[in-house]
C-alpha cells in the first residue's frame, strides 16, 4: 500500500495484488478517475483563506454547517474508492475535518459533506454508512455508469489550461464591498513593491493638461501582438491564483462569449469568485512589467478596485484581440447612457473605442469590471483610451485592466498601451474619456504619429459622445487619479474627488487666462479698449445701473408734465428715486419706506412748506389705499417734529409696529 500523506489527508492507496495485468491497467485507469485536480483545488483553498467567499459562494450550506460546533471530535471519514466493475476498493482515504477529498473544501459536518458530495461531485456515486458501530462513518465512492459512458471524466476539470471554466456569480457587488478592506491592505503591500523609478511620470500639472504627451507611461510602442504576448507571459503569475475574470464578466458582459474563446491565455480556467486572489498576482505581474508606468495612485487605486480590477487585466489579456475588438464594436454602439445602473460591460466595451482597432480586446472585459468597480468608487481615470465610454465606470475599468502588464509592453497601438498602462486607478469616472485621450497620446510617444493621431481622433470622437453623460467634475478625475502618489487606498474619496476637481478647475482657469490674454478686449457698451488688468480682474462693468442717468431721466420725464407745480414735481422726483433705489416693491414695504423717506428728507421738508404739503398729501393717498396705517402716518409726522436722535429710536420701534399692522385703522 502506498501511503501518501497530503495535508489534512491520508491517502491510502489500496491495490489488489491479485489483479492480473489487465486488472492493473484497469486499476490504474480506475484510479485515474479518482484523481483530483489538485492544482485547481489547491488554488481554491488558498484563495479561500483570503477570501472566505470562495467557500461561501458555492457552499452555503457548508458555511452554515460550520457554525455548528463539530460534534465529531476529529471528523474523520473514510473514503473507499471502489471499482465499478469488480466492487473492489481501489483506494482508501481518511479524511479529516469533514473535508471533501475532491475539492478539499471542509464541510461543516457529516450532513454537509454528504450534500456536498452529492451535489458537487455528481460524477461519482456515494454510499454513506457506518461499517461498524464504533467505526467512523464511511463513504463508498464509485463512478457512475453514466459518467463512464459519456466520457465526462475525460473532459473533467483536469487541466485548467485546456478548458477554462466560466463562473457566474450573482452577488459580486456585495462581495466586493465586503472584501475591500481586506484586499486593500493586501494590495497595498504588494503594489508598493513596484519599482516606479524608471517610469517617466508627468507631474501633476502635466497630467492635468489635456493632450499632453508627457503624461503617463514611458513612450513605448505597443504592438498588439506584443501586448498579447506579454499578457500571456504574465498570465501565469496571475493565472494560478485567479482568472476567471471571465466568469465574472459573464454576468454583465455581452462580450463574454468572445472571452470564452480566448483560449490562448486560458487564464480563466479557474473559476474564482473573488478577484482578490488575482490581485496579488497582478501586482506581481505588474512588477514584472515594471516598465509600464504604474502610478502609485494607480496602484492604490487598483487596490481599491481590488476585486474587479485585479482580475480584469488577466481577463483582458486572455481575450483574443479580435474577439475583443469585435466585442468592443458591438458595445460601442451602445449608448453611453445606459451606464447608470448597468454593470455591463456594454459601456466598457465602448470604452475600448478607438483603441479597439488597435487591439486590446481586453478592454472590453476589463472595462466592464471597471465599470462595476467604478460604481463603487469614483473612477479616476488616467487610463486613457478607453475613455470613450461615457460611463464613468468604463474608464475605471479600463484603468484597471490597463494597469496590468500591458504597460510594460510598448505597443504600437496606442490604445493597447493605454489600456494597459493605465493602472487601475479605477475609479471610473466619465471624464476619463478625455484623459484617456491624453494618456493615449502620452503613453505612446513612440507610437507612430499617425497612430497617435488616429487614436486621439478616435478618442475625440469618443469623448464627444460622453460629454452628455459625464458628470461635470469628473473629467479631471481621470487624470488626477493617476497623480496621487501613493495615495492610500483608503483615502477618502472626497479628498480625491475634490483634488480632481481642483485640478480640473486649475486647468480650466489656465485655459481661461490664456484666452483672455490673447487679444484686445473692449467694453461692450462704450467700446473702449480694456486694459489687461481690467480684463483679468473679475469686475463686471456692464451691469452697473447708472443712477445718475436714471435720476436724470426721471427728472426730465417729470419735467415734461404739464400742469404740475414745480414743488410737486420735485417731491415726485424725490419719492420716485427713493423708491427705485430702496427697491420698495411690495405693499408691506411702504410703511417702512414712508418713515425712511421722512427721515431722509427731513431737512427739505422743514425748509419747504410746500414739500411738506405734498408729502402729507401723498401719505393721505397711501392711507386711502390702505398701504399705511394711521400709526405710521403719525410716526412720519412726528419724525419731522422730533429731533433726529429721538426720532430714529422711536421710528425704529414704530417701524416694527407699523409693519405688523397692515390693516387700516380708523384714525380717531
Amino acid at each position: 500500500m502506498a501511503r501518501k500523506s497530503i495535508r489534512g489527508k491520508e491517502v491510502v492507496v489500496v491495490s489488489d495484488n491479485d489483479d492480473d495485468d489487465d486488472v492493473d491497467v484497469d486499476v490504474d485507469e480506475n484510479i485515474v478517475k479518482y484523481i483530483k485536480p489538485v492544482s485547481v483545488y489547491k488554488g481554491l483553498e488558498t484563495r479561500s483563506r483570503y477570501n472566505p467567499y470562495f467557500l461561501r459562494r458555492s457552499l452555503k450550506y457548508i458555511i452554515k454547517a460550520k457554525k455548528k460546533k463539530r460534534s465529531n471530535s476529529s471528523g474523520k471519514i473514510r473514503f473507499n474508492y471502489r471499482d465499478v466493475s469488480n466492487k473492489k476498493t481501489l483506494k482508501a482515504e481518511v479524511v479529516e475535518r469533514f473535508s471533501c477529498p475532491f475539492c478539499l473544501i471542509s464541510c461543516g459536518g457529516h450532513e454537509g459533506l454528504q450534500l456536498h458530495l452529492k451535489s458537487s461531485h455528481d460524477a461519482f456515486k456515494f454510499d454513506f454508512y457506518r461499517a461498524e458501530e464504533d467505526h467512523g462513518p464511511e463513504v463508498d465512492v464509485s463512478v457512475k455508469s453514466d459518467t463512464l459512458k459519456y466520457g465526462v471524466l475525460k473532459n473533467d476539470v483536469g487541466n485548467p489550461q485546456l478548458s477554462p471554466l466560466t463562473f457566474c456569480s450573482k452577488h459580486r457587488n456585495q462581495r466586493i464591498q465586503r472584501d475591500d478592506s481586506n484586499n486593500v491592505k493586501q494590495l497595498n503591500v504588494l503594489l508598493m513593491e513596484l519599482d516606479l523609478g524608471d517610469l517617466p511620470r508627468g507631474t501633476e500639472n502635466d497630467s492635468t493638461h489635456v493632450n499632453d504627451d508627457n503624461v503617463l507611461s514611458p513612450p513605448r510602442a505597443h504592438s498588439s501582438e506584443q501586448t498579447s504576448d506579454i499578457l500571456t507571459t504574465t498570465q501565469p503569475a496571475i493565472g494560478e491564483s485567479s482568472d476567471p475574470k471571465v466568469p465574472h464578466l459573464n454576468d454583465d458582459n455581452v462580450s463574454s462569449p468572445p472571452r470564452a474563446h480566448s483560449s490562448e491565455k486560458n487564464v480563466s480556467t479557474r473559476v474564482h469568485d473573488d478577484d482578490d486572489v488575482s490581485s496579488p498576482p497582478r501586482a506581481h505581474s505588474l512588477e514584472k512589467n515594471e516598465s509600464t508606468r504604474v502610478n502609485d495612485d494607480d496602484n492604490n487605486e487598483s487596490t481599491h478596485v481590488n476585486d474587479e480590477n485585479v482580475t480584469s487585466p488577466p481577463r483582458t489579456r486572455s481575450s483574443k484581440k479580435n474577439e475583443s475588438t469585435h466585442v468592443n464594436d458591438g458595445n460601442v454602439s451602445l449608448p453611453p447612457r445606459t451606464r447608470s445602473s448597468k454593470k455591463t460591460s456594454d459601456i466598457l466595451t465602448k470604452t475600448q473605442p478607438a483603441i479597439a482597432e488597435s487591439s486590446e480586446p481586453k478592454v472590453p472585459r476589463v472595462s466592464r469590471r471597471k465599470q462595476l468597480y467604478a460604481k463603487r468608487y469614483k473612477a479616476r481615470g488616467t487610463q486613457p483610451a478607453i475613455a470613450e465610454s461615457s460611463e464613468p465606470k468604463v474608464p475605471h475599468v479600463n484603468d484597471d485592466n490597463v494597469s496590468s502588464p500591458p504597460k510594460a509592453h510598448s505597443s504600437e497601438k496606442a490604445s493597447g498601451v493605454l489600456t494597459t498602462t493605465q493602472p487601475a486607478i479605477a475609479e471610473s469616472s466619465e471624464p476619463k474619456v478625455p484623459h484617456v485621450n491624453d494618456d493615449n497620446v502620452s503613453s505612446t510617444p513612440r507610437a507612430h504619429s499617425s497612430r497617435k493621431n488616429k487614436s486621439t481622433r478616435k478618442n475625440d470622437d469618443n469623448v464627444s459622445s460622453p460629454p452628455k453623460t459625464r458628470s461635470s467634475k469628473k473629467t479631471s478625475d481621470i487624470k488626477t487619479t493617476s497623480q496621487p502618489a501613493k495615495a492610500e487606498p483608503s483615502e477618502p474619496k472626497v479628498t480625491r474627488a475634490s483634488r480632481r476637481k481642483e485640478l480640473y478647475a486649475e486647468r480650466c482657469e489656465a485655459k481661461r487666462l490664456e484666452c483672455l490674454k490673447s487679444r484686445q478686449f473692449y467694453h461692450s457698451q462704450t467700446m473702449q479698449p480694456m486694459t489687461l488688468e481690467q480684463v483679468m480682474s473679475n469686475e463686471d462693468s456692464e451691469n452697473e445701473t447708472d443712477d445718475y442717468a436714471l435720476d436724470l431721466n426721471e427728472r426730465l420725464r417729470l419735467e415734461r408734465l404739464v400742469g404740475v407745480s414745480k414743488e410737486e414735481k420735485r417731491y415726485m422726483y424725490l419719492w420716485n428715486i427713493f423708491v427705485r433705489k430702496q427697491r420698495v416693491i411690495a405693499d408691506g414695504h411702504v410703511p417702512w419706506a414712508c418713515e425712511e423717506f421722512a427721515k431722509l428728507h427731513k431737512e427739505e421738508m422743514k425748509n419747504s412748506s410746500s414739500f411738506d404739503w405734498w408729502w402729507r398729501m401723498f401719505r393721505i393717498k397711501l392711507w386711502n389705499h390702505g398701504l399705511i396705517c394711521a400709526n405710521t402716518f403719525h410716526k412720519c409726522t412726528t419724525i419731522l417734529l422730533c429731533n433726529s436722535d429721538e426720532a430714529g429710536q422711536s421710528t425704529s420701534g414704530s417701524a416694527a409696529n407699523a409693519n405688523k399692522q397692515h390693516s387700516m385703522e380708523v384714525d380717531e
Binding site: Q525, T526, M527, Q528, P529, Q534, N553, L556, R560
Partner: protein, 369 residues
C-alpha cells in the same frame, strides 16, 4: 415733425447770380488718385488761418495758402493701413494751444495728430463703424464730436483721449449719422443729422460735470464713466431724404439733403418739453445737380456766405445775409467736372477751396476789383 402753416412758406432763392463777388481759379493741385472727401481751413488759431488740411484715401495733408494763389504742402500723414479711407478731418487744439488735426474714416478710429511734433497724439477708439464727420467745439477746442455710421455721436476729449458721452439710444438716430455741428454760442448744444432724415439737437448740459472730469482724468481712459445720452432735446424732420450736412446759423440751422437745395430753418424748442417742438423752414437755397449724398458745404467764419459744390464740379456761392436768398456767384471751370465733395472758405471768404472726387484741389480766389 414740422407743420408749415399758412403764410409761413419758405422763400426760395433765385439761381441768377448777382456776381457781387467773382472768383477765379488760382491753383489746382492733384493729390493722388483717391477722392478727397474733406478740406478744412483752420478757424481756431489765428496764426494758421491760411492753413488747410485735406483728407482722402489713407492720407491727411496740410497745406498753406500763400499769396498769389500759391499753395505749399506742409505735412502729410499716411495711415499704415492701406485700407483706411479718411472721410473727415477737423482742427482741434490742445490745452496748451498746440494745434491738433483729428481725422476719421472708414475704420472708425479717430487719429489725433499733433502737427507741431508731427506725431499721433491719440487714437480714439470706440466707434463701431466708419466716422462720417468730426467737428470741434470752438469754445473749448479740446472737445470734438464725431458722427458715425454706427448711429451714434460721441463726444471726445482729444487731449486725454477719453470718450465722454455717447449720444445714442432710444431717442437717437436710427441710421447713419452724417453730420454734426456745435452751436456757436451755446456750449452745451449741438445738432446732428443723418440718413434717417432727421436732424436732432442734443444738449449735454446735465452731463457737463463729466466733461470737466475728462480734463482731469488720470486713470485709464477706458475706466472713465462714459455716459449715454439717449434723448435729444429736439428732433426735426425737415427733409425727406438723407441729410448729409447741417450747420448752425446762429440759432437757425442750415441743412441740406439730396434734393438739390440747402434749407435754412429754425428749430422751435419748447421749454421743458424735450422732443416736442416745431421747425420753421425759412429759406431755401437751390443747388442744382446736387443729389448724391456726402457733399458738404462750408461757410466763412462770419457766416456771410456759403459755398457748395455739386456733381458737375461747379460751385455755388450763396449769400447768407440776404433775404430772399441771393446767389453771389457760380464758379465753374471747364476742367472741373468731377464731384466736389467739400468746399472750404477762408476766414474772410476770399479764398474758396474745393476738393474733388478725382483727388484734385481747386483754389478760387476772389477777384478784387
Amino acid at each position: 415733425m414740422s407743420k408749415i402753416t399758412l403764410g409761413n412758406e419758405s422763400i426760395v432763392g433765385s439761381l441768377t447770380p448777382s456776381n457781387k463777388k467773382s472768383y477765379k481759379v488760382t491753383n489746382r493741385i492733384q493729390e493722388g488718385k483717391k477722392p478727397l472727401y474733406a478740406v478744412v481751413f483752420n478757424f481756431l488759431d489765428a496764426r494758421f488761418f491760411d492753413v488747410f488740411v485735406t483728407a482722402g484715401g489713407n492720407r491727411i495733408t496740410l497745406y498753406n495758402c500763400l499769396g498769389d494763389g500759391a499753395i505749399s504742402a506742409l505735412q502729410s500723414y499716411a495711415d499704415e493701413d492701406k485700407e483706411e479711407s479718411f472721410y473727415t478731418v477737423s482742427w482741434a487744439c490742445g490745452v496748451n494751444g498746440n494745434p491738433y488735426v483729428a481725422a476719421g474714416g472708414v475704420k472708425g478710429i479717430i487719429r489725433v495728430i499733433d502737427v507741431n511734433s508731427e506725431t499721433i497724439h491719440k487714437s480714439l477708439v470706440g466707434h463701431g463703424d466708419s466716422v462720417n464727420e468730426i467737428r470741434t467745439q470752438p469754445l473749448k477746442p479740446q472737445l470734438v464730436i464725431t458722427a458715425s455710421k454706427d448711429e451714434s455721436v460721441r463726444l471726445w476729449n482729444v487731449e486725454t483721449g477719453i470718450c465722454i458721452l455717447i449720444f445714442a439710444g432710444a431717442g437717437g438716430h436710427r441710421y447713419e449719422v452724417l453730420s454734426v455741428d456745435f452751436h456757436p454760442s451755446d456750449i452745451y448744444r449741438f445738432a446732428s443729422c443723418g440718413m434717417d432724415t432727421t436732424i436732432k439737437i442734443w444738449s449735454m448740459k446735465e452731463f457737463w460735470t463729466y466733461v470737466e472730469k475728462s480734463f482731469t482724468w488720470t486713470d485709464d481712459p477706458s475706466k472713465f464713466p462714459t455716459k449715454f445720452v439717449q434723448f435729444p432735446v429736439f428732433t426735426a424732420s425737415v427733409h425727406t431724404n438723407y441729410v448729409d450736412c447741417n450747420r448752425w446759423f446762429g440759432d437757425f440751422i442750415l441743412s441740406k439733403s439730396v434734393d438739390n437745395e440747402i434749407l435754412l430753418w429754425e428749430p422751435q424748442l419748447k421749454e421743458n418739453s424735450p422732443g416736442e417742438g416745431a421747425s420753421d423752414v425759412l429759406l431755401r437755397y437751390p443747388v442744382p445737380m446736387c443729389d448724391i449724398w456726402f457733399i458738404k458745404f462750408s461757410c466763412d467764419l462770419h457766416l456771410s456766405s456759403v459755398a457748395i459744390g455739386n456733381q458737375d464740379g461747379k460751385i455755388y456761392v450763396w449769400d447768407l445775409k440776404s433775404c430772399p436768398p441771393v446767389l453771389i456767384t457760380k464758379l465753374s471751370h471747364n476742367q472741373s467736372k468731377m464731384v466736389i465733395r467739400q468746399t472750404a472758405m477762408s476766414v474772410d471768404g476770399s479764398t474758396i477751396l474745393a476738393c474733388c472726387e478725382d483727388g484734385t484741389i481747386w483754389r478760387w480766389d476772389v477777384i478784387t476789383k
